[in-house]
């Protein structure tokens, strides 16, 4: 049977196995005794009849033969239609299979022989030896026609044999036309009888999915596509693309545009996205598409082909540009009543820790203030108000200035930039608030202001391009901190935009012999972000040259790791496209060669779940190296990046990471917590939480630091009480260790990010789509965390702001046709995997009813609890436009 041989079909396979197992298991117990002695009269008669038929078949008289075959056929068909047990006629005919077979050989070609072939084919279902494929053999020489009449079980068996035969013939390069004929019939049969999964399996086996298009109809296309898309995750390339292509076409055929768009986005196929727009005539639905594109975070320009009317186009482009994100987020915040700004102390909750908490030192610690700056920025992100940076500055104390100056030197950069984080997505007021810092004569503050502008504009596009206008002039300033501020700001605000104007500004820096290493490193990163997943040749060339120009000493610097990372980001998720560049990287200085290799590999296969790459990376981690080699860090991160795409892979990866903790060298152990953090980002699984909690007390302080940061990552934006408690205890445990305490504070800020309204997960739309910019932001931070001391604990702590790329409200906000928020009841519950299930199974379990806007936690799904409205997208996440249901009647 097809599913058992195809390990890739998960949902359908299990179910079918069950069905086929039932048949033999029921049989022997009940029937054994009966068989010999007490056959009922009916059965006895049937048996005798069949025996008679068998004899008559061998009769030379063709008339008699025919009559016998007809009767036999009647008997078999009549009984196979029920599936409860092994059909009796089959059972009674078993002993005669050999006789009939022998007789069949002697027969001359005739209709009668075909009839007999049919019957033998059915009998072979139970009799044929393993691998003989007799059933198929007889089928092919039998009568052409309705195979469904022989019953489901027979068709299934046939499908399985076809798959085997197909592979055999492929290897022999034999013709397959006759098989395909049969496949046609079988697929048609399956599709008509709620067995879409089996049809898909068969077609995948015979590599002819196009056939599906002819056979799907309104009733079964959803289940078919559902099965196809979820099977795609487990298929090797390029089959997965093919499968998704088919399901895109099916969705398009049935005008299920949101799903089609989802697949188009997954395939990163702009042509398809366009097609969705041009095929759909409804403006409101197009608006919904725009929301989906905006959530995915790609830059997309609508043209007049997609939307004819100019005003409409502008309105739609506004949605794609995410201009309303801030508004929607604040609506959510007001509804949940969390507008009140929180101070870092509200997060630390030191009063819950008696005795041990540091005795309120009278002198400011720059490190602790910096931590408070970040906590404040993360917690109040996007709310537009806080209690440190935006408090109205009165002339006497100038309190807003005050907090800024409570940070030391480079700390002021992060402090000024934190204002951008607080005003996140609100470009208008954000820019006006940051303005005052532009007039400062303190370079770190200017740098912070520039970075802040970048952060405010993260994911938001504006016609006036304020970020480029403001930052452009600062890229070539004298002071390198100002340059970095501007470069990083551009990278964050234009991530994924592939903006040529910026490239022409940044590329020269890479190959400027006079530019300091840190400026080059950040320029490379920013270019990587702007051209994330674009495979842009020119950018790649610039970075490669920059890498080759580095001196031996510079290659040892921790910041150098951003160069290969920038290169890797260009190929994020692009699989084979990386190969040419990977070849070039083999010529690099050996200090960076392996690091580059691992980074490229892990980025290129990020989110693909490619098992072979996981094995490659595991092999790298298995080596025990001399001290000083750093490439195993990115290899461990790479494991998580590749495996993070689906639940099964995540679970397996968590287990193999556990193994590495036990047997790996120290440099691997240091990366393991970070990998765990990536796998479960914003998804606090209890087992991972426990592992990290254990590691946070590790004797190696770098392992402990990584574990602490990862605790923050897995709990990011969840307000998870357990992690919060763990971190609180850690803060008292490490009260004397300034570095670890800093990490604990950052983690605390992450857990309460956006007061619990945000998520860092790069996956959205029911974990189907992976936002490349979001992943780029997280991966950059993790690479920085591989060597904490010189970067995050040094003067480049602002790399923490790269997380802003992944920050998204974890909300579902329903809006009416005028895009005004509309509160409707929804059920929110744990999502259930319904792939391959027949009928209309429940998609959520253990739900609660709320009214929108609502928060969605990891693994949760929402569904409308009212029939009054119809959502324009089946995936209820983010902004959802509701249309009034014309058929709705008030009760």
């Amino acid at each position: 049977m097809a599913p058992t041989q195809d390990p890739n079909s998960v949902g359908g396979g299990a179910k079918q196995d069950e069905a086929s197992l039932k048949v033999p298991s029921k049989d022997p117990k009940k029937k054994d005794e009966k068989k010999e002695e007490d056959l009922s009269e009916e059965d006895l008669e049937l048996k005798q009849n069949l025996e008679l038929y068998v004899e008559r078949v061998q009769d030379p008289n063709p008339e008699l033969q025919k009559a016998a075959l007809e009767s036999m056929r009647q008997e078999i068909r009549a009984s196979t239609s029920s599936m409860t047990s092994v059909p009796k006629p089959l059972k009674f005919l078993r002993p005669h299979y050999g006789i009939l077979k022998a007789f069949h050989v002697t027969m001359a070609d005739s209709d009668l022989k075909k009839y007999l072939s049919d019957i033998l084919s059915v009998l072979a279902l139970t009799m044929s030896a393993e691998g003989e494929r007799e059933s198929l053999g007889y089928r092919l020489i039998g009568t052409e026609g309705d195979i469904g009449s022989w019953g489901h079980e027979y068709v299934r068996n046939l499908a399985g044999e076809i798959a085997q035969e197909y592979t055999k013939r492929q290897s022999e390069e034999a013709p397959i036309d006759d098989l395909m004929e049969l496949v046609q019939q079988i697929v048609a049969f399956h599709m008509k009888h709620n067995a879409e999964t089996e049809a898909v399996d068969l077609l995948m086996d015979v590599e002819d999915l196009d056939l599906l298009l002819e056979h799907v109809d309104k009733t079964n296309f959803k289940r078919t596509c559902n099965y196809l898309t979820s099977a795609a995750k487990y298929l090797p390339g390029p089959d997965d693309m093919l499968v998704l292509d088919i399901s895109y076409m099916i969705y398009m055929k049935f005008e299920e545009y949101p799903n089609a768009l989802q697949i188009a986005l997954f395939l990163d196929n702009t042509q398809y996205v366009k097609q969705v727009f041009t095929s759909c005539a409804d403006l409101l639905r197009k608006k919904q598409f725009c929301y989906m594109i905006a959530r995915h975070g790609i830059t997309f320009d609508l043209d007049d082909e997609m939307v004819a009317d100019e005003d409409d186009r502008e309105a739609l482009q506004d949605i794609v540009n995410n201009t309303k994100l801030s508004e929607g987020y604040l609506t959510l915040a007001r509804d949940i009543e969390v507008m009140e700004a929180k101070t870092p102390e509200d997060i630390y909750k030191a009063h819950l820790l008696d005795g041990r908490a540091s005795s309120g030192a009278s002198v400011d610690s720059a490190r602790q203030n910096l931590a408070a700056t970040f906590v404040n920025a993360f917690v109040n992100a996007g709310f537009g108000q806080d209690k440190l940076m935006t408090v109205p500055s009165d002339s006497t104390t100038g309190s807003s200035g005050n907090w800024l100056f409570k940070n030391k030197e480079h700390g002021k950069t992060s402090a000024a930039a934190s204002l951008g984080m607080i005003q996140l997505w609100d470009v208008d007021s954000g820019l006006s608030q940051l303005d005052k810092y532009f007039h400062s004569n303190d370079n770190p503050i200017i740098a912070g202001a520039l970075l802040g502008v970048g952060i405010v504009n993260c994911g938001i596009k504006n016609d006036c391009d304020p970020a480029l206008a403001l930052l452009g002039d600062y890229i070539d300033k004298e002071d390198s901190s100002v340059r970095i501020g501007a470069i990083m700001g551009l990278g964050i605000s234009y991530a994924g935009s592939q903006n040529d104007q910026i490239r022409s500004k940044l590329s020269p820096i890479l190959n400027d012999a006079k530019a300091p290493l840190d400026v080059i490193a950040f320029a490379s990163l920013s270019l990587g972000m702007i051209y994330v997943g674009s495979c842009n040749e020119e950018v790649a060339q610039s970075i490669i040259f920059a890498l080759m120009d580095r001196s031996e000493a510079e290659l040892g610097d921790a910041l150098t790791r951003f160069l290969p990372l920038g290169l890797g980001l260009l190929y994020l998720g692009k699989q084979e496209s990386v190969e040419a560049t990977a070849e070039v990287s083999k010529t690099f200085n050996e200090k960076i060669r392996k690091y580059c290799d691992m980074t490229l590999l892990s980025c290129a296969y990020a989110g693909t779940g490619n098992v072979l790459k996981v094995q490659d990376l595991l092999a790298q981690c298995g080596e025990h190296l001399e001290k000083g080699d750093i490439h195993q860090g990115p290899a461990v991160l790479g494991l998580a990046m590749v495996a993070m795409s689906e639940e099964l892979g995540i679970d397996m990866e968590i287990r193999s990471l556990e193994r590495m903790l036990q047997y790996g060298e120290q440099n691997i152990r240091r990366a393991v917590p970070l990998a765990l953090g990536l796998l479960c980002i914003s998804n606090p699984k209890v087992t991972v939480m426990d592992t990290l909690s254990r590691l946070s007390h590790d004797t190696d302080s770098e392992v402990a630091m990584a574990a602490v940061i990862s605790l923050g990552l897995i709990g990011a934006g969840t307000n998870n009480a357990r992690i919060a408690g763990m971190l609180r205890n850690l803060s008292s445990y490490y009260y004397k260790d300034a570095s670890l305490l800093f990490c604990v504070r950052i983690a605390q800020g992450l857990v309460h990010m956006g007061k619990g309204l945000l998520t860092l997960s790069p996956f959205h739309s029911e974990r189907f789509l992976l936002s490349p910019t979001a992943l780029a932001g997280i991966v950059t931070l993790l690479h920085a965390c591989l060597d904490m001391k010189p970067i995050i604990l040094g003067k480049y702590h602002y790399v923490l702001y790269f997380l802003v790329l992944a920050m998204q409200p974890r909300m579902m906000l329903t809006v009416d046709e005028n895009l005004k928020p509309l509160s409707v009841p929804v059920r929110v519950g744990q999502a259930v995997d319904v792939v391959g299930q027949a009928g209309r199974p429940k998609t959520i379990t253990g739900f609660q009813t709320h009214s929108t806007p609502v928060l969605l936690a990891a693994g949760e799904r929402a569904e409308l609890a009212t029939d009054k409205y119809i959502p324009l997208s089946p995936i209820l996440e983010g902004f959802i436009i509701l249309k009034e249901n014309p058929d709705y009647r008030e009760e």
Binding site: G355, S359, S362, A366, S393, S429, H439, C464, A469, G472
Partner: protein, 482 residues
Amino acid sequence: MPTVSVKWQKKVFDGIEIDITLPAYVFKAQLYDLTGVPPERQKIMVKGGLLKDDADWSAIGVKDGQKLMMMGTADEIVKAPEKAIVFAEDLPEEALATNLGYSAGLVNLGNTCYMNSTVQCLKSVPELKSALSNYSLAARSTDVDQTSHMLTVATRELFGELDRSVNAVSPTQFWMVLRKKYPQFSQLQNGIYMQQDAEECWTQLLYTLSQSLKAPTSSEDPDAVKALFGVNLRSRLHCQESGEESSETESVYSLKCHISHEVNHLHEGLKHGLKGELEKTSPTLGRTALYLKDSLIDSLPRYLTVQFVRFFWKRETNQKAKILRKVDYPLELDIFDLCSEDLRKKLEAPRQKLRDEEGKKLGLQTSAKSGSKDSDVKMTDAEASSNGSGESSTVNQQEGASSGKETHMTGIYDLVAVLTHKGRSADSGHYVAWVKQESGKWIQYDDDNPSMQREEDITKLSGGGDWHMAYIIMYKARFVSM
């Protein structure tokens, strides 16, 4: 002439006319009228760049109805505070020490934890520190020998060094002097110095200090140490055989808490310790007879030291064996019923006052704070008030309970230091000091490693297992001002 709309903050100004023949500065002046933002602070964004003051409109190619965006505020520009902010990271080590909230640890010089913990406990007495700082060679009385003098000076130096330093201090000098003065501490075993009984160290050190800090010249402070630690006991001797009674007074530096099978709590142990039997020649009987001795406290010290008599000489093993029995002690000790009649009378009024004050505080706070928190608050508040009063009255307060002064003893004491022992005999195991800081936080001084502890963990040092158990504890008197 094209008209444009300008977006500034959340406002949009529609229909602004641009005269393309004039430089952009004129346009900025127009916006100044509308927004109040001075032209030099305006940033106007036109496609991919900022609008320069002298820019030529025709080169920019502004279109009719185009939207421009302006950034800029008339707000005050941020200025660095005039007084630069000092960061902990920049401070020298000494300055950091005062910020830490507790002083440094002491390096173990080889089985010197008994000494380290004793020093840490005694250092927590500020009055002793100030008395030591007043000590000078000139002032020393003639009857103090050289070694005592040296030990006193070494103590003073060590206390000073501990307060200044962040990292652990090595008490080499102090130790040498201590061994010189008390050669019993130089006992060697297998070539290394032996572990000693902390109680012995404590007693000897206090004795030396009391001798050297006796200032015969100044009348107001005859015996600083005695004023701080001395307990006057009035004992009544009663002979059951003859029925005769006598009374005597004595002064001790610590009360003993005897541990027997009935003793579960410090209070019982103290009571037990104040009763005794002794054999003495009876003048009436003309032979030795059994006397019952019944002691009561006659005057209270500022610091009440209690020693748990955990060690006894075990003849079989020829060493000081330890009683592991759990004896609870409170954070707040009331010894009213151990006082003599006279003293009790003196204490009554201050105690009443104290109760009133606490009642008042509680009354004010009952609604604000919940159950368990209450006692903590009360404690720290009371602590603060007693600290305050302690400062107002000078160190030379002779008898705490003597009338006429502003502050009065109440017979209530707060726990301030615990010296614990871990191990099975006095000459082995490990001594650790647990000291309450002025900030109210408890610090565990385990040789060179001080660490914060929670108050509820301090009361868990009461024994009954192999964990650290209290050996010597020190209480500080609570005063009330009247």
